[in-house]
């Protein structure tokens, strides 16, 4: 189970990693503890799991948590409908009397059964009920679960690298937090943002990047905005600015802001940005 211990994570081609986070990822992998990541949208929580998988050459399995999800769905599913159908019409290859043929592995089950160590991303765990986390405690501790229908225990062949993200809509339960390492990814500063933009647009015009990032942070500082623009919005905005032949970076420093709708997705915010936009530039 510990074959991955010697591996170290050092970032990937499409992801800009800060040193602190690299240390946290490495220590969590060495201690074999799940890493819980919080932070506002656009700070690269999900991207981190992708880049760990990429750089350590592991398979990435993503479990997108939904609000109504029960843990058992993530472990395995017993396909009763197909079995009922098969027994009614009898035209399939499957053996109706063998329940195991109707058991499908869920994402956690797939990660446990994989022959090689995998990265298991449990995305936005806070969406589900607290039951989901409570049920997961056992699975995390034992690294195994039972399939009740066929009375069989699935054990993890390799302990996956657990990356769990939360948007902190709800607080996670204390026992669950106790089993995780925790990190909060702060929103990147302008310096970091330059690197990030550079990773996405290696050939970007320097003055365009500078003025766009500058304008972006000023727009983030506007008062009373409900949903602040995040990294994703900036990247799309720059893409739009680049695509517009009439656009010149100087426009931004003059206070003309094209395509504001890309940065602000709520109509109230957009109005506010349009009305305040002029004032930001004295």
């Amino acid at each position: 189970m510990s074959q991955g211990n010697s591996q170290k994570f050092e970032g990937a081609s499409r992801y800009v990693l800060d040193e602190e986070l690299a240390q946290i990822v490495n220590i969590s992998m060495a201690l074999e503890m799940p890493l819980l990541l919080k932070g506002e949208p656009g700070t690269g929580k999900t991207m981190l799991a992708h880049s760990i998988a990429q750089s350590l050459d592991m398979e990435l399995i993503v479990l997108n948590v939904k609000s109504s999800m029960k843990l058992v769905e993530a472990l395995y599913q017993y396909d009763t409908l197909t079995r009922l159908n098969d027994s009614r019409f009898g035209d399939s290859e499957r053996d109706v009397s063998n329940i195991e043929e109707y058991i499908k592995m869920g994402k956690i089950g797939q990660a446990f059964k994989a022959d090689k160590k995998t990265v298991l991303l449990i995305d936005e765990i806070d969406k589900a009920d607290t039951d989901f986390q409570d049920d997961m405690l056992d699975v995390l501790d034992q690294m195994e679960f039972d399939i009740m229908e066929i009375d069989k225990t699935i054990k993890a062949k390799n302990r996956p690298v657990f990356i769990i993200t939360s948007n902190s809509k709800k607080d996670l339960s204390d026992p669950f937090l106790g089993r995780c390492n925790f990190h909060h990814i702060a929103f990147p500063g302008p310096k970091m943002m330059r690197k990030i933009v550079h990773v996405h647009f290696p050939e970007i015009d320097h003055s365009l990047m500078e003025s766009a990032i500058d304008a972006f942070y000023r727009m983030r500082d506007l008062d009373h905005v409900e949903k602040k623009p995040a990294t994703r919005e900036l990247i799309n905005w720059i893409r739009a600015l680049q695509a517009d032949p009439d656009f010149h970076p100087k426009q931004l420093s003059k206070g003309q802001m094209p395509f504001l709708g890309i940065l602000f997705k709520k109509s109230q915010d957009l109005e506010r940005a349009q009305s305040q936009g002029g004032r930001v530039y004295r």
């Binding site: 060495a30 890493l35 106790g178 995780c180 009373h224 409900e226």
Partner: protein
Amino acid sequence: MFIGFFYTLKEAGLPVSPTSFLTLQRALEMGLINSTGDFYTSARTILVKSERFFDIFDQVFAHHFDGVELPDFKGMELDEMFRSLLDEWLSHPKELANMLGIDESQLAKLNADELLQYFKDRLDEQKERHEGGNKWIGTGGTSPVGHSGYHPGGMRVGGMSRNKSAMKVAASRRYKDYSCQGTLTESMMGEALKRLRHLVPSGAKDNLDIDKTIVQTMKNGGEIELVFERSLKDRLNVILAIDNGGWSMDPYIPVVQALFTHARAQFKYFKTIYFHNTIYSTVWEDPERYRKEVQIEDLLKNDPETRIIFVGDASMGPYELIDTDGGLSIYERSGKRSIDILRTLSKTFPHTAWLNPIPKEHWHYTHTIKKIGQIFPMFDLSLDGLEKAVNSLMVK
């Protein structure tokens, strides 16, 4: 190792568990931690489970490993201090005149409101000057005087350096905005809104979900099992009652109003009313408390299921609350005691909450806070307090 550090964290109010401390020891033993920087990162990721506590962690870390004086977590809050200063100055008009740089005769011409405004403006100027100079001083982040007596010369606060030491990282207090203890600020808006989202009703589980019933029945091999869903209930009526009388409330009103304005779409009906210090026979719909009066009788006619959220410091002279003619305004002579009116409100509307911008630790200094706190469930105006208030408003 580092047992002292562990206990200092605990004493500072950080919920650290022995298990996680043992995990940290394991990490040390495995040779994963080779520098103070490593230790800072690892200890935080293992011991601290919420970004709200990152700030306390940073402070304790700087204290323990670099001898930075730990701020007094129970220190007098800014507001309290200015209040007492103002009281003192008002009893020595000559000093006050000197303070504000105007002579006494001019001062005498100012009425109370103008005086307060003038005083406040000066305070704001002072606040900016000091805040810019040093982030480290004061628990509230705006204290211009630094009551803990800490001298910042020893640490290069905010200094730019490529080679960031753990000490400096800890001292820069990057996570101050995430701390849940401080009074609500603009930057916490997003988090605060998320907490307000819980302010939605949940009905009884009495709607038959036919699809789920069929699936469940099939899983049971034909044994019928009925699955019920929560029925949707009507959205809530919310009345926000704001004390906009005293200058002590001013910094918080825009934040609270913006917060509820953003959230109003989730309410069926939303209204803001204003009062000064406490409620007598009238409240107002306009912030100037002049044009649109609402008689308390009309307020009481609202649906009893309405959630009323008061925002105020609940600090006033005791007579304002318990005298029959305690009102500050000369028009306010209803002959009813304010405390009785508050009790009537609390009886009529079972779901109320009072949000108080004064930190909880200081509540027991003020008699009227205690009194009002007995009538309405009172919470401090912080992320934690807001969450608790929403929970209490949703209790059946």
